[in-house]
Symmetry: C2
Amino acid sequence: MQNFVFHNPTKVIFGQGSIPKIGNEIAKYGIKRVLLLAGKGSIKTNGVYEQVVESLRESHIDWVEHWGVRPNPVLSHAIEGIKIVREENLQGILAVGGGSVIDEAKSIAAGFYLDNLWDAFERKVEIEKALPVFTVLTISATCSEMDPYAVLTNEKENKKWNIGGFPLYPKVSIIDPSVQSTLPWEQTVYGAIDALSHIMEFYFQSKGEEPTTSINETLILTIFNSVDQLQTNPLDYKARSALSWSAVLALNGISGAGLYGGDWACHTIEHGISALHPEVAHGAGLAVVFPAWIKYIHTLNEMQFLRWAKVIFGKNNVDSAILALKEKYKSWGSPVSLRDLGIFKEEIPLIAENVYQAYSIRTIGVLKNLDLNDIIEILKIAY
Amino acid sequence: MQNFVFHNPTKVIFGQGSIPKIGNEIAKYGIKRVLLLAGKGSIKTNGVYEQVVESLRESHIDWVEHWGVRPNPVLSHAIEGIKIVREENLQGILAVGGGSVIDEAKSIAAGFYLDNLWDAFERKVEIEKALPVFTVLTISATCSEMDPYAVLTNEKENKKWNIGGFPLYPKVSIIDPSVQSTLPWEQTVYGAIDALSHIMEFYFQSKGEEPTTSINETLILTIFNSVDQLQTNPLDYKARSALSWSAVLALNGISGAGLYGGDWACHTIEHGISALHPEVAHGAGLAVVFPAWIKYIHTLNEMQFLRWAKVIFGKNNVDSAILALKEKYKSWGSPVSLRDLGIFKEEIPLIAENVYQAYSIRTIGVLKNLDLNDIIEILKIAY
């Protein structure tokens, strides 16, 4: 194994009926007033909102609500949140929603202590502190509930960038998988594909380091099986909870322990797509980019890609496994090409340029440091 | 999955060359003076001691040494440690050694705040606080480096009991697997069997909950392969590090997530054996007890035991898998029967009585709550 540090202080309370615990958990931090951050309102129809505010009331915690976090959360909305926190003297952020809501919560929590939040995304300042973040998760996908990262889109500059830092780990995350049974099907699917992509970003860097490599295979297969089962019965709690916990393990440090830090080229390219096409769900973009990236890159770590083909799909070559991956995604109703996403071939250079320029402060990819031409080639395959 | 809480705040720094980081990690807690707790002196021959004290010096941390922790650590030695901490105004405990040293460090850390340390083991008081514990691990086995538990033997009362509590998680644990390459072979083996037993305590409770059940299989197979490889070449770092990290995952919360809390009958019975026979290594005792327990209990969760037989050993029945498990342990040079341990058949009632009486404050076993007769029967099979 490669050297690594594992240090994840988030308390995860997992299971059916866990949501009413949130108030007491916040109160343990001596907090009396929080920002309740949420999306467009689905938590009012699935009963989550009622459970949360009832729990806050019981623990004598006041809250101010900030609605309207977008699926790809934007800088301007986070800045509004910071303003509310300052004006209302709030002491912490309670994110009730999916990865987008949690990511914006972290951004607000860090931004509270900064003159200019976006400076952190530009790596001009370090994140040395943040307000405490608590989460009640409503869709399993990003692992933002148990990681120190946040992604935000600067809509004026078409940049979908990220921050990371130890103060951004949520203090407490409540994961009640049963509330996800009413999700629209495509959200379950895109969440699962996001989690699968996190695992694969690490997995394909592996040179066979155990136990992490095999654990990642287990997680991939568990997610495949869980989504297949949920497609038959969205109320299957065993499958729903297996998917939820696998999505956590996909990016909470376990899936990367002793590997090589992840490649992240596919995530970077996808962020370039959805920065220009905000209507593209992150998971849908990843379903399109990942198979193309594998096709383009696999000879650089061929043994690992062959292992993947064999263990996950029972195939003896990578091309057949790529087809099987696309078939799997298609069987769930996901797009698997840029064409499926409604993106024109003529846009490829623009997207590639956006990826390349936006990420000029960092290299793109580890198995290969991708240049502009590489990105164009991958997008052409993805078309 | 069953409901669960995952909250493990220990920072693990893993890899070759990590030991010199310990001083700086302790200094981050504002600590100037620590108790350096150690065993019989192996850390002076394998270079670990020198690395540790050099790092403490560089970080301007003073230390007082307390040597002589036994393989089954005893109450009296821990009480001596508490006395030293109080007299010398020490602010934390640095355990340099294996699980025994870390367990005693936790006991000292908790005992510092108690009138009578053993009261905590008797469940007469809760562990509400503890001095900060830091560890430099020299043998992978117990996961004490990343769990909130400690086992201590009250030698006057022949009780080998445990404590647990959130304040007992080590703050920072350094795991440099390369220092384990000079371990006596049987210590590597008994450490591995201890870790395997932790996994199996959870695994056999499973009703197929994923991803945890499959992750546990991965950990079992990784440990099997790693020990086999180390038997050929003790310097094999890939195998050594795989074993070390698997032993952490065996009891840091990952192996039990969403299962049923573990059975722990085998650990309890083994503690009864080694309380009366302190010369019996914990891992050796477990190698003897576990196959017998499986034989006695398997029909109560037959599907899971059959899955184990199939996935781990490729067998279609549990009896064949039990034989294969014993063969595996024997191939590593471990005893697999009470006879191998040099324990006479006539002692069985006494051992069983010791287990049963000593644990009168708690039930023994979950798959079946074992009574005195059950324990005798299991020990007879183990003979």
